[in-house]
C-alpha cells in the first residue's frame, strides 16, 4: 500500500491540508508569462521559489523553463528587495536580453510589502530598462488563492501594461484561453482560423512549451503573444474569455480599460462547451460555421453515440482546477457518466459550488463535492464507496494503484506521461481524445477483469 495511513473514517480537519490539489500563485504566473513572446519570467523572492516553479513546469512539459530570481538573502528579507530587483533587471537585460521581464511576487516579497511598480519606475528612471523593452508585474501572494489565481493575475497584467485603444476597431477577436495546455491554445486558435476569424490570443504558450528539437537551444522560442498584438487587443471587436477563474479578471480589465466587450464561457471541453465556444465566436464575428467544423462535431458525436453503452452509469471521481473540473463534469454528465466525487483544490466560491451541484443534480447517486478540498478527502470518500474511473493529475496515481481503479491523467501537473503538450482536450478534436482516453481506460479494465469465458473480441 502506498497511502497506507489513509483511513475510511473521515475526521474534521480545518488546519491541516493533506495531499493538496492545488499549488501556489507564482507557478501559474510563471506559466502565463511564458506565453508572451520573448519574455523572461522573474520571481521576486528567495531563489527556492523559482527553483521549485521552474522544476514543476519543466517536469510537466519536458521542455526548458527559463526564469530569473531576485535571490533574496536574509538581509533583503529585512530591508526589502528593491536593490535585488534593480540589480536583477540590470543583469537580465545585459546577459539574456529578453523583450519583456514579467515580475511576479512571492510570499516573501508580499509579506515584506515590496512595492513593485515603484521599483519598476525607479529602474526606468535609472535607465536600467533599454528602449523598446518592458518590465511588467503581477502581485501573486501564495497565501491567497492558488496557481490559477497567479495565472489570472499575470494574464490581467498583460492587459494592464499593454492593452490600449491605439487605432480604429479591428475585425479581430481576443481569445483568453484560460489555464490550458499549449496544445489547447493551438487548437483554440485553429478553430477561430477555421472559421475565418482573425484572433489575438493571450497568453499563448504554444511553441514555447512544446517546441521542436532543432539542435539549437533558443532561450526565447518562436511562440508567445507578441507585444504589438497585446497592445492592439484594445482595438478588437470583443473578447471571448474561457474559464472564469483564470480568465475573467483579464477580460473585465480589458473591457474597463478599452471598452472591449467580453463573453465569459466555460473552457471548451467536450461537445456542448465547444458548441458554446463556436457559437460565441460565430455571433461575435458575424460569420458562418464552416462545414469542416460541423464534420469535426459530427465525428465526436458519432463516437459518443456509438459507444454510449460504455459511458452510461460509470461512477467517476474527479479532482483538479475549478475551470477544468466544471467543464469536465458537465461533459461527463452529458455522456451519461456519473461524476460522483468532485474535489477542487482552489477555493472557487459559493457560486462555483452551486454550478457543480446544478450540473450533477440528476445523477441517481449521492454526489459529494468539496470546493477547496484535498486528495486525502477524495481518497477517503473512495474508501467508503469506490468508483469506476478516476480523473486527475499525476498524484492521483497513488490512489488509483492502491484502490485498483482505472485512471486518466488530466490537469496539472502531469509528471509521468507525455501527450498533454501535443494533443488538445479542448474543441471537438480534443473531445475525441478525451472520449478515446475514457474508453481505453474503461475497456482495458473490462478486458482485464473478464473471465476466459466472457472475454470478448469485439466491443
Amino acid at each position: 500500500m502506498l497511502l497506507r495511513h489513509t483511513t475510511k473514517e473521515i475526521m474534521e480537519r480545518s488546519a491541516l491540508t493533506v495531499n493538496p490539489a492545488k499549488t501556489c500563485q507564482p507557478v501559474g504566473a510563471m506559466y502565463a508569462s511564458l506565453g508572451i513572446h520573448g519574455c523572461l519570467p522573474h520571481s521576486h523572492g528567495s531563489q527556492g521559489c523559482y527553483a521549485y516553479h521552474r522544476t514543476a513546469l519543466t517536469r510537466h512539459y519536458k521542455e526548458p523553463v527559463i526564469a530569473a530570481t531576485s535571490a533574496f538573502t536574509e538581509g533583503a528579507s529585512v530591508f526589502g528587495g528593491q536593490a535585488n530587483l534593480l540589480q536583477a533587471i540590470d543583469n537580465i537585460f545585459a546577459v539574456y536580453n529578453p523583450d519583456v521581464i514579467a515580475v511576479h511576487t512571492t510570499c516573501l516579497s508580499e509579506t515584506i510589502g515590496d512595492d513593485i511598480p515603484q521599483i519598476i519606475n525607479k529602474a526606468k528612471a535609472d535607465g536600467k530598462i533599454p528602449d523598446g523593452k518592458y518590465v511588467i508585474h503581477a502581485n501573486t501572494p501564495s497565501y491567497v488563492g492558488s496557481h490559477i489565481t497567479g495565472f489570472s493575475n499575470m494574464t490581467k497584467a498583460m492587459v494592464d501594461y499593454f492593452s490600449s485603444q491605439n487605432g480604429p476597431k479591428q475585425k479581430t477577436i481576443n481569445l483568453i484561453p484560460g489555464y490550458v495546455e499549449p496544445s489547447d491554445m493551438s487548437e483554440i486558435k485553429r478553430i477561430a482560423r477555421e472559421m475565418g476569424i482573425s484572433s489575438l490570443m493571450f497568453p499563448d504558450t504554444s511553441q514555447v512549451l512544446n517546441g521542436p528539437m532543432t539542435g539549437h537551444y533558443q532561450m526565447f522560442p518562436a511562440g508567445g503573444s507578441k507585444i504589438k498584438d497585446l497592445q492592439s487587443t484594445g482595438n478588437s471587436l470583443g473578447t471571448i474569455a474561457m474559464g472564469r477563474m483564470a480568465s475573467l479578471a483579464a477580460a473585465r480589465a480589458l473591457d474597463a480599460k478599452c471598452k472591449v466587450p467580453y463573453e465569459m464561457i466555460d473552457l471548451p471541453i467536450g461537445l456542448q462547451a465547444t458548441d458554446i465556444f463556436v457559437d460565441s465566436l460565430r455571433k461575435m464575428a458575424g460569420v458562418n460555421v464552416p462545414e469542416s467544423l460541423s464534420i469535426e462535431r459530427g465525428q465526436l458525436l458519432d463516437v459518443i453515440t456509438d459507444m454510449q453503452q460504455y459511458f452510461f452509469g460509470k461512477r467517476v471521481a474527479l479532482v483538479g482546477d475549478p475551470d477544468q473540473v466544471l467543464a469536465l463534469t458537465k461533459f461527463l454528465v452529458s455522456i451519461d457518466m456519473y461524476p460522483v466525487y468532485i474535489v477542487t483544490g482552489s477555493a472557487a466560491g459559493k457560486k462555483y459550488q452551486k454550478a457543480l451541484e446544478e450540473a450533477t443534480k440528476d445523477i441517481p447517486h449521492e454526489v459529494k463535492i468539496k470546493v477547496g478540498g484535498d486528495m486525502l478527502l477524495l481518497h477517503q470518500w473512495i474508501k467508503n464507496l469506490s468508483v469506476d474511473l478516476l480523473i486527475g493529475n499525476t498524484y492521483v496515481k497513488y490512489i488509483a494503484k492502491d484502490e485498483d481503479i482505472p485512471f486518466i491523467r488530466f490537469g496539472f501537473p502531469i509528471l509521468d506521461r507525455i501527450g498533454h503538450s501535443y494533443f488538445p482536450t479542448v474543441g471537438y478534436k480534443g473531445g475525441l481524445r478525451l472520449v478515446e482516453k475514457i474508453l481505453d481506460a474503461v475497456l482495458d479494465r473490462k478486458d482485464r477483469d473478464s473471465t476466459d469465458i466472457n472475454f470478448e473480441l469485439v466491443l
Partner: protein, 553 residues
C-alpha cells in the same frame, strides 16, 4: 581502470582550447561587477605538489537575475535531509507551494515493511496551507491545530515542522508550539527554522537539519543492537535504491548499518545511531555536521568514503575493514571484492571502446560532481569541466582549507551548535595511539580531499554555473554528455546533447556499489551512442537542391 598516470600529464590546454581564454569568453558579456565576482567562481584547475589547488569562491550569494540552478534552505532541510525518513510526519508550515513542490519529487526509495510498525508517510504531503489571515494575525494557532489533526488522523510517533519564508517574517515561534505539543501528545515534536531566505542555497538547510536532528533525536535510544562492525552511513539518500545496493554489499561483508542518514531511514535508527563505532560519509556537504558532532559528543570517528564507482567502492570497503582492523572482516571484504569486481570489469571492458575519449561535463549538487567522475574515468571518458551548485570551498579544495575560509554574514546566521563530550555516553572508539597507527596506514579521519585535487590540470571548475555559462560551455566544447539536474535537462538537450540527471538519475539507478556501476556504464553507453540524436536534420535540409527530373523547366 583509468590510467592515473596518463590522466595526470600536465597540459594547460583543455580539449585543444586554452582554458584561460574560455574563461574570459564566459565573462565577457557580464557587467563589470558581475564579471569580477564570477571570475573568482570560475577557476582553471592546477594541482600542486601537496594536492594544493587554486582557491575558488563558493557558498557565496547568488547574483540576482543571472539564472542558476540552486534551491533554498527549506529544500535542503525538508527536501534533502529529512525527506527520506519515512516515519516522521513532516508538516510544512507555510503557504501551499513549498510543501507541494517537495512532495514525492526526490525519489527516495524506502522499505517501510522492514520496520515493525510499517509506518510510511513519504507519499503524503502535509501543509498548514497558510492564508492571508495567518500572515496578518500569526500562524501559531493554525500550526498547533494542524499538529493535533495530524496526530488524531495518523497517530505517528514523531512530527516535524518546517518553516517557510513568510513564517520567519511574521515571527511565528514554531519551536515553542512544538514544545507545547510534544508535552501534550507525548510524542517527539520538533521544528526546523529553515526559511528559504537563510544562507545562500540549500546548504544552509542541510546544516539546520543536521543540528535539529542531533539536538532532538540522536542519543534518545541507548539500546545496543546486535551485529558486528557497526557503522552509520551518512549523506546517502537512497535515490534510485543506492542505499539498498550498499546495504547488500555490507551485509555480504558482515558490516552492520545502525542508521543511514537518511535514505530508507526510520527515526528510530537516528535515535540509536550514537551506538555505532564508525561514521561513513558519502555526501560530505550535506551531512558532515552530524558526523563532527557525533565525534565530539560520543567519540565516534568519521571517514569519507565513496560508493560511486567500482574501484571507489572497493577502496571504501577496504578502508572500513582497515579501521576495524579485524582479520575476519579484512578477509571477508577481500572475498566480496573478488566475487563482485570481475563482473563489473567485464561490463566496462565491453562498453569502453564505445565511450573512450568522449567528453563529459558535470555541474551538480555538493558531492556528486566529484563522485561520478570515478564512473566516467572507468569508462575512459574525458572530464572537461565540473562544478557544484551549493558546495563550500572544502568540497572543492579539501578540508585542509577550512581554517582559511572566511565566515560571511550569510553563514554566520546559521547556528553552530556548541557540542561537548557527553558525560555518560562519550567513549572514544579508538585510543589516540590506535588512531595514529591507522592514520599512518593511510586512513584519514575527519578528512575529505575535495574534488579539485582529483581533476586534471587545465580543467575548468565552475561554481554555481549560470544558464549563460552553461550554454556557452556547450557551444565551445560540444560535450558528448552533460550531467546536471532537471532544470537544465531540456535546454541542454535542445542543443542536441544528452543530459544525464544526477539528482534524480532520470528515474533509473541504482548507480552505487558494484551492481550500480554496471547500471551506470550501460546507461551512459545508451546515452552517448544513441541513434536518436542523429535525426535533427531532415533530408531536405541535408540536400536542399531539387533533382532535375522534378524541377520546373
Amino acid at each position: 581502470m583509468a590510467d592515473r598516470n596518463q590522466q595526470q600529464e600536465v597540459v594547460m590546454s583543455l580539449d585543444e582550447q586554452n582554458p584561460e581564454t574560455v574563461k574570459a569568453d564566459l565573462l565577457r558579456r557580464y557587467p563589470i561587477k558581475i564579471a569580477r565576482k564570477r571570475s573568482k567562481q570560475i577557476v582553471v584547475n592546477k594541482v600542486g605538489a601537496c594536492d594544493d589547488v587554486p582557491q575558488i569562491s563558493s557558498n557565496v550569494r547568488t547574483i540576482p537575475g543571472l539564472i542558476g540552478q540552486r534551491g533554498c534552505c527549506y529544500a535542503g532541510c525538508k527536501g534533502v535531509v529529512l525527506g527520506p525518513t519515512r516515519d516522521i510526519i513532516n508538516i510544512t508550515h507555510g503557504p501551499i507551494g513549498c510543501g507541494f513542490y517537495s512532495w514525492l519529487t526526490r525519489r527516495n526509495q524506502t522499505d517501510p515493511d522492514s520496520s515493525e510498525d510499517k509506518h510510511n508517510f513519504i507519499p503524503y504531503c502535509f501543509s498548514t496551507d497558510m492564508q492571508d489571515e495567518e500572515i496578518i494575525f500569526g500562524g501559531e494557532r493554525k500550526l498547533r491545530k494542524a499538529i493535533q489533526e495530524a496526530y488524531d488522523n495518523f497517530k505517528p510517533k514523531a512530527i516535524a515542522v518546517f518553516a517557510t519564508c513568510p513564517v520567519g517574517l511574521i515571527g511565528d515561534d514554531i519551536h515553542s508550539v512544538c514544545r507545547e505539543m510534544k508535552e501534550k501528545l507525548g510524542i517527539n515534536v520538533f521544528g526546523f527554522s529553515c526559511e528559504g531566505y537563510k544562507g545562500v542555497s540549500q546548504s544552509a538547510g542541510h546544516h539546520i537539519a543536521n543540528n535539529q536532528i542531533f539536538k532532538h533525536v540522536v542519543g534518545l535510544d541507548d539500546t545496543v543492537r546486535e551485529g558486528e562492525y557497526k557503522v552509520n552511513l551518512l549523506g546517502e539518500y537512497n535515490i534510485g535504491g543506492d542505499a539498498f545496493e550498499i546495504d547488500r554489499i555490507f551485509k555480504k561483508c558482515g558490516i552492520s548499518i545502525v542508521s543511514t542518514y537518511s535514505g530508507n531511514s526510520s527515526i528510530d535508527d537516528f535515535s540509536n545511531s550514537h551506538t555505532a563505532d564508525l561514521n561513513l560519509i558519502m555526501c560530505h556537504r550535506s551531512i558532515n555536521y552530524v558526523a563532527e558532532m557525533m565525534d565530539k559528543k560520543y567519540g565516534i570517528p568519521w571517514i569519507k568514503i565513496n560508493f560511486i564507482g567500482a574501484e571507489a567502492t572497493a577502496k571504501s570497503l577496504r578502508k572500513i575493514a582497515g579501521y576495524f582492523n579485524d582479520q575476519k572482516l579484512i578477509d571477508r571484504v577481500e572475498q566480496v571484492i573478488a566475487e563482485e569486481l570481475p563482473e563489473v570489469k567485464k561490463a566496462y571492458l565491453e562498453i569502453r571502446p564505445r565511450t573512450e575519449g568522449k567528453k563529459v561535463m558535470l555541474f551538480v549538487g555538493g558531492s556528486r560532481a566529484h563522485h561520478y567522475q570515478e564512473l566516467f574515468n572507468e569508462l575512459g571518458m574525458k572530464i572537461l569541466s565540473a562544478g557544484y551548485e551549493f558546495a563550500h570551498r572544502d568540497d572543492y579544495e579539501g578540508r585542509k582549507v577550512i581554517p582559511s575560509i572566511k565566515v560571511d554574514a550569510d553563514s554566520r546566521n546559521i547556528e553552530e551548535l556548541e557540542v561537548t563530550p557527553d558525560p555518560g555516553k562519550y567513549s572514544p572508539r579508538k585510543s589516540p595511539e590506535e588512531m595514529n597507527a591507522l592514520e599512518n596506514q593511510g586512513i584519514k579521519f575527519s578528512d575529505y580531499e575535495g574534488m579539485m585535487p582529483a581533476m586534471k590540470d587545465g580543467t575548468l571548475i565552475i561554481d554555481d554555473i549560470s544558464q549563460f555559462e552553461t550554454d556557452a560551455m556547450i557551444e565551445i566544447f560540444k560535450p558528448d554528455i552533460f550531467c546536471a539536474g532537471i532544470k537544465e535537462k531540456y535546454s541542454v538537450q535542445k542543443h542536441g546533447i544528452p543530459l544525464k540527471q544526477l539528482h534524480s538519475y532520470d528515474y533509473g539507478g541504482p548507480y552505487a556499489g558494484f551492481k550500480g556501476a554496471i547500471n551506470f556504464y550501460k546507461e551512459i553507453d545508451r546515452m552517448v551512442n544513441s541513434k536518436v540524436w542523429g535525426y535533427i536534420k531532415a533530408p531536405w535540409e541535408k540536400n536542399p537542391e531539387l533533382t532535375a527530373t522534378y524541377a520546373w523547366g
